[in-house]
Amino acid sequence: MCLALPAQIQIIHADTGMATVSVDNIKVEVSLALVDDVQVGDYVLVHVGYALNKINEDEAIKTLALFAEAGLTTTP
């Protein structure tokens, strides 16, 4: 279950509690009812029309570094 996709917030519609988010050039409207403190430019996980969580950029970079490290330990 639980298909959720990272999308970037483009516009916040404060009056409706909605936001326009995009994945590359595809834009969709999502509800911000489940998240606090999000800003334009943030990446959020989108699931069934709701932003579920903010993506933590620092943690994403750390995880990507782990994959690369795996290589460092194996390539002489």
Binding site: M1, C2, L3, L5, A7, T20, S22, V23, D24, N25, I26, K27, V28, E29, V46, H47, V48
Partner: protein, 348 residues
């Protein structure tokens, strides 16, 4: 033309299709005269008979028919009218034939705005002119409101197969190459974007197009080296490859990284939980050709406006299970199976 016995012109700006337009009386004659004949105009249609008579060079003829139902009727990159022409032109062309003539049957729903119908008819006429396939005979019926989806169009086409060309879905053999003329999934995603509860702020347009001129240059360049041609419409590339594998009794191995796909289509598929391999196309063809003709055909295809992104996407292999397999862009391998019914967006 002689004076028409109609008291007033067809109200194309605010009028609607009503049951009298299918009743066989004057209203129907007027609709046919002022809409269909006016726009489709050609010598054979003007014969005014219930059939069109023509002579053709002796040789192998093909005939194909296709019913077109689509919602919405107008979508980014096309409409049901052009689609109905291209769809049948393409089905005829997938035999390697040059399409000659089309017949069109309309089932109109009571209440369809005449302005919409005119737009569709003009679009069909334009498509028929640009593809060089006149609509030479037709039929109109009207069904009660609620019994149709605006308009259904059935088109039938005939074409002439050039000499030396022998294309059939059972002719794929191990070692042959699998080619495609461009990016997949554009049509299906454009249609979904056009539907009510999905607003994509983007510019994905349908790839709806007539492939007959592309096929013409391909068969001219390598008449005996093209074994299968098929347009991957409903069910997408995956379905077409499975059909060809099944009918030819072979397996296929395709390479995900080589399959052309627009970034927007990829993103839309991610959002909707769809697999682009199963999304419909309306201007694509899959070609199975000999290994030796591969580069020559690709070069020819890439010179054509509808083949600029042509790629070799895989090879035919021996497989008694007739499976289509794919090397994933991630580096693994998977089966690309038949679809289970229509692909539904998933949240899971």
């Amino acid at each position: 033309m002689s004076m028409k016995p109609y008291t007033s012109k067809l109200d194309l700006s605010t009028g609607n299709v009503d049951l009298s337009h299918g009743g066989g009386g004057r209203a129907m004659a007027q609709l046919i005269d002022e809409l269909f004949i006016k726009h489709f105009d050609n010598d054979l249609l003007r014969q005014g008979n219930d059939q069109a008579m023509f002579t053709t060079k002796a040789g192998r003829l093909v005939i194909s028919t296709d019913g077109h139902v689509i919602s919405p009727l107008f979508f980014p990159g096309g409409d049901i009218g052009s689609l109905a022409v291209y769809g049948t032109v393409n089905d005829v062309a997938m035999s390697g034939a040059k399409p000659l003539y089309l017949a069109a049957g309309f089932i109109l729903e009571e209440g369809l705005p005449l302005a919409d119908l005119e737009r569709i008819v003009i679009s069909m006429a334009t498509a028929s002119h640009t593809t060089g396939t006149p609509i030479v005979t037709g039929d109109t019926k009207v069904v009660e409101r609620g019994k149709g989806d605006g308009v259904f169009i059935t088109t039938t086409g005939i074409g002439l197969v050039p000499e030396r060309v022998n294309i059939s879905s059972n002719r794929a053999r191990p070692g042959y190459s699998i080619l495609i003329n461009g990016s997949i999934g554009d049509h299906g995603i454009a249609i979904m974007a056009g539907r009510e509860n999905l607003q994509f702020g983007t510019s994905i347009v349908s790839d709806s197009a007539a492939l007959n001129t592309l096929v013409e240059v391909m068969v001219a360049a390598a008449p005996a080296d093209i074994y299968c041609l098929r347009d991957p419409t409903r069910g997408g590339l995956a379905t077409t490859l499975n059909e060809l594998a099944q009918q030819s009794g072979v397996g296929m191995l395709i390479d995900e990284a080589s399959i052309p796909m627009k970034p927007e289509v990829k993103a839309a598929c991610e959002i909707l939980g769809l697999d682009p391999l199963y999304v419909a196309n309306e201007g694509k063809l899959v070609c199975i050709c000999s290994a030796s003709a591969t580069d020559r055909l690709l070069a020819i295809m890439r010179q054509h406006p509808l083949g600029q992104d042509a790629m070799k996407i895989g090879v035919v292999i021996e497989d008694k299970h007739r499976l289509v397999q794919m090397t994933t862009a991630f580096g693994g391998r998977r089966i690309v199976d038949w679809p289970v019914g229509e692909q539904l967006p998933r949240i899971c």
